[in-house]
Amino acid sequence: MRVIIVGAGQVGSSIAQSLASDHDVVVIDTDGERVDELTYSHDVLPIQGDGTELEVLEEAGIADADMLIASTDSDETNIVTCGVAEVLGDAFTIARVKQPQYLRAWERARGAFGVDFMVCTDLLTAKAIVAVIGLPTAHDVDMFADGLVQMTEFEIPTESPVANQTIAEADRFDSLTFAAILRDEEVLIPTGETVIQAGDDLIAIGSPESMRGFSTAVAPQSEGPSDVVIVGGGEIGFQTARLLENRGYKPRLFEHDEERARWLAENLPKTTVLHGDATDQDLLERENVGSADVLVSALDNDQKNLLSTLIAKRMGTDRTVAVVAAADFSSLFEAVGVDVAVSPREVTAEEITRFTRARRAENVAIIDGDRAEVIEVEVDAESVLVDRPIRESMADLPEGVVLGAITRGNDLITPRGDTVVQVGDHVVVFADVDALTEVTEKL
């Protein structure tokens, strides 16, 4: 597949990196130095120029391209680039935008602006943060089948009653499937006898209600959070506060730039906006941040995010969530004490992956960088699953695969051995990275 990426910033480079091995990638950027850098680091064709110009896109071979991903820092440039590409060929266009207002307009009329798919990085990140906040022990939350099915990655704390129980003991919820346990570098597919250990990352697939129930079972003492503090009022911080407001929270938000703080205060009626530096310990003490249930650090600098979450943790904040721009640092952050690290790039990459990989997956969640994936597939007549009990069809699938949930219309069906899958069902499947290719072919 020929893919043109316009904009070689963080997201653009990241996408280029993940695609370069399997596809012909052309990267366009106005910055000559960045283009040069790309030439040395990835096997891509770099072009220096403005992606909104006809000639530049033609030079990049837009006529033969299958996909164009516009991922510069300017929303307008990305949208215009897709519009121009639309004129020059029939490549599938993806625009990355920061401002949700463009997304809202695009959602009203899909395909507007010549954009076939729009990804709003900051909104996606904020949604991920808010989903994690809602489940006190969750690391990562992804929705499937229009919200009927949820994939959640739980970290099992030492003092958790679930620790040292077998899967059979812990499985008290009807519509919940334990898909996998990530223990150290291993990916375990659990059986009824598998014992859950403290420190495990447990991947569960099921209904949102059962997730909330299991979340309470994992950490009974932690009720839903009520006092949420957000540090950093950039677009991610703003969207997080906005989504939390919609859910009835009254968050507190720290922003160091006064003008921006004023703007935030005007646009977030239920949020208390504080003008100040989140690494100012006096301020944090004065505002009693230690008593907060959750602190989200959404500054535009990874080091500062790490610092502010560690300070908060030290002051007594129950749970900390940090935004990590460099996806590689996610596990490092979690290793040194940050409860959840959310990477906008990873979130965006997941979103874009659905289209860049030629498979029938409706929806994808990438687990822990790239160790495994949860995918949603609409079952057709070719699938090995069709018209037979799961017990039988599982034999034809490789190891490291778990059928997490089935949806039929608007109903959620928890898969059991004798469940028969029909054409048109959506299945949500966990798959180890090694089994991925085979699974997608057979489903």
């Binding site: 720290f254 006064e258 009626p269 208390t272 003008h275």
Partner: protein, 497 residues
């Protein structure tokens, strides 16, 4: 060619247009005078004068109205109408109005919709003169609305911008794309309300619930109720009419002090804006709260027998004072100190922005209350940034500053006027008690009308020294156009380029 600092010619031509327009009400009153067999000269003479002066002024070159000319025009218009309004009183030469200061006081009180009167004997004046008083107030009430829409919205006085915030339109003039059209719509609502009030009074009469109501009475009172102005041809004001009439009048005074833009949306079948308006809820709350307190005081002093009269008189007086109308159903001057002080407090409230009302106006108080509450919060959380919101919309800090300035200025002028009234009375070897002086100062400067003591609802301002009355004339004018335009044209910087 350099720009002149103030293009007074433009203001003059606009003033000419306004003066010319005065011919119509003068002609109408002359016709009424003729109908009742009263002298028509008092109205026809100023009619000729305004036409002549108006046409003459219109001959100046007119350019676009800039901010400076707008200030001048606003200030001059009200002054000029007051001067013209006094002419019929002088020419008619009846009773105390034959005196120039008294005539001008009555006229200024009329056009500013104050409702303070110097008349001591109501029978001394013809019906046409009484009607002219009412008509002056009706024009004054409409004038301020049109002015607010067309001109004041472009002048920073805090109120008009707030009206925009409150009505959730970026700009009041955006009711329709054209200012003229908006002014006409608002004028239509105003005239419609007046007509409705005439009909409801006559309707009550037809039902036998209002024995002494005539078409004349209905029209004269409709002119001064909807404009929240308060002149009445009856010495006993609304006390001369039945309880049913008093209840209906409460409703019209209350409506007259409600934001006309919200009324417009209500008429469009959209009651949500009125319901969601924080200012409206605040205004309603103040009226009900003050009434409840007044009722408590009245019950405590056993002023009235029965529940209905107590509530009716308390509500009537509170609505009349809060909306700056100034009608009375009883002589509240003889009420207990507690009840009287409730009314005194009510004088500083005023109705909603964008209505015919005067005084400080509820929206300003609401912003003051909210910003004080914000200040208390930021006292504990110094880094918190908390915008003041009105019905969900952010009020910008400049507007809040304007409002504080306005409230402070109002209080200062009120205090100075009080001192002036007391000392001037002493100089003229008369005695005016301090509370009465405060009442009279608030009542004239805030354009309410009746006060306490000799200037109470059934008394008059006649006994004040000429100098005090002159000062009141000026301050009624200043108060009506929201102080700032007058202060602005008095600054030297205004006249420099």
């Amino acid at each position: 060619m350099t720009d002149v600092a103030v293009d007074w010619r433009t203001s003059a031509t606009l003033l000419g247009t306004v003066l010319k327009a005065l011919a119509l009400p003068l002609a109408a009153t002359a016709a009424v005078a003729a109908w009742y067999g009263e002298a028509v000269v008092p109205f026809l003479a100023p009619l000729g004068l305004t036409l002549a002066v108006g046409v003459a002024l219109e001959r100046f070159d007119r350019h676009d109205l800039r901010l400076r000319e707008a200030y001048l025009m606003v200030a001059l218009t009200w002054l000029a109408i007051a001067l013209v309004g006094a002419i019929p009183f002088l020419i008619a030469g009846q009773g105390v109005l034959a005196d120039p200061v008294n005539a001008l006081f009555e006229s200024m009180s009329g056009v500013t919709t104050t409702g303070a009167t110097v008349i001591d004997s109501f029978d001394a004046h013809g019906r046409s003169i009484h009607l002219w008083r009412s008509l002056l107030q009706w024009m004054g009430g409409l004038g301020i609305l049109v002015l607010a829409v067309a001109v004041l919205s472009q002048i920073s006085v805090g109120g008009a911008q707030l009206m925009e915030t409150e009505t959730q339109t970026e700009n009041v003039t955006k009711l329709t794309p054209r200012i003229e059209e908006t002014a006409r719509l608002i004028g239509g609502i105003y005239a419609g309300l007046t007509g409705l009030m005439v009909l409801s009074w006559l309707g009550l009469h037809a039902l036998g619930l209002a024995p002494n109501v005539t078409l004349y009475q209905a029209v004269a009172h409709a002119f001064t109720a909807v404009s929240t102005a308060g002149f009445s041809p009856q010495p006993a004001s609304l006390g001369a009419f039945s309880p049913a009439i008093q209840w209906v009048t409460i409703l019209f005074m209350f409506t007259g002090a409600t934001n006309f833009v919200l009324l417009y949306f209500l008429l469009q079948g959209d009651p949500t804006r009125l319901k969601n308006s924080e200012e409206f809820r605040f205004y309603l709350g103040i009226v009900l709260g003050l009434t409840a307190l007044t009722v408590t005081f009245l019950v405590g002093s056993a002023q009235f027998r029965g529940v209905e009269p107590t509530i009716r008189h308390a509500l009537f007086q509170v609505v009349s004072i809060v909306t700056t109308t100034g009608y009375a159903t009883v002589d509240f001057n003889v009420w207990s100190a507690g009840a009287k002080h409730m009314l005194f407090l009510g004088m500083f409230v005023g109705g909603m922005a964008g209505s015919t009302t005067c005084s400080i106006k509820t929206v300003r108080w609401l912003v003051v209350v909210k910003s004080l509450r914000r200040d208390l919060f930021t006292e504990i959380h110094p880094e918190a940034i908390r915008p003041v919101r009105l019905s969900g919309n952010v009020v910008d800090e400049e507007t809040i500053k304007d409002i504080y300035g306005y409230v402070l200025l109002s209080v200062v002028i009120f205090a100075l006027l009080t001192v002036f009234i007391v000392t001037d009375a002493t100089r003229a070897t008369e005695h005016v008690g301090e509370f009465d002086a405060m009442g009279a100062a608030a009542s004239t400067f805030l354009n309410i009308g009746p006060a306490f003591g000799a200037a109470g609802p059934y008394g008059s301002y006649l006994h004040f020294p000429e100098t005090t009355k002159a000062a009141m004339i000026v301050l009624m004018w200043v108060g009506r156009i929201e102080i700032i335009p007058v202060l602005v044209i008095l600054t030297p910087a205004y006249w420099r380029s």
